[in-house]
């Protein structure tokens, strides 16, 4: 599983009483956001691929199920990228029309 090892102690590296470094905070926030997005993606991908690939749950994942899950993961990523591009294009078009 994905563990967030980043915690929330932003200020721990700045020593006592000094100003917090905004650059450091921003970098840490960006990392946490990236982790959160990856977790979100994984969670939805797992849901979708379980639905597509697992029929009646057996005692283990058989070969065909594993192959299906592997393909499903790749297709989910393809879909995500397609949606991202399409949405981005639409936003650009909206902005151009305003």
């Amino acid at each position: 599983g994905m563990e967030s090892g980043f915690g929330s102690d932003f200020g721990s590296g700045s020593g006592g009483g000094g100003k917090l470094d905004p650059g450091l905070i921003m970098e840490q926030v960006k990392v946490q956001i990236a982790v959160a997005n990856a977790q979100e993606l994984l969670q939805r991908m797992t849901d979708k691929c379980f639905r597509k690939c697992i029929g009646k749950p057996g005692g283990s994942l058989d070969n065909s199920e594993q192959k299906c899950i592997a393909m499903c993961m790749d297709r989910y990523m393809d879909s995500w990228n397609t949606v991202s591009r399409a949405y981005n294009s639409r936003l650009q078009r909206e902005r151009a029309n305003m």
Binding site: R44, M71, Y76, S79, V83, S84, A86, M98
Partner: protein, 110 residues
Amino acid sequence: VARRGGFGDTGGAGNGMDSPSAAGLGSADPQLQRFIEVETQKQRFQQLVHQMTELCWEKCMDKPGPKLDSRAETCFVNCVERFIDTSQFILNRLEQTQKSKSAFSESLSD
């Protein structure tokens, strides 16, 4: 139909998760404030991609194959466009119903 840019700079489809204004958050530091604005906007975009991918997967994907065929890809693109159209339609019509009736609750009880 009044054309309303429901997205503007925020990249959101009115998902109800309006972030609070940055007032009070990093308000002493304009750099932090700008950062928060930018990251919030990026996150709205990401969240919508997650949401639309999930929705459109149900509509466009049969059995996952070795690649995303062109029919499925077209479906995903159409799905995104129609989802945004739907969102804008809802906003526009809501705006109209609110203009023509005195109270919003009236239009809901129609």
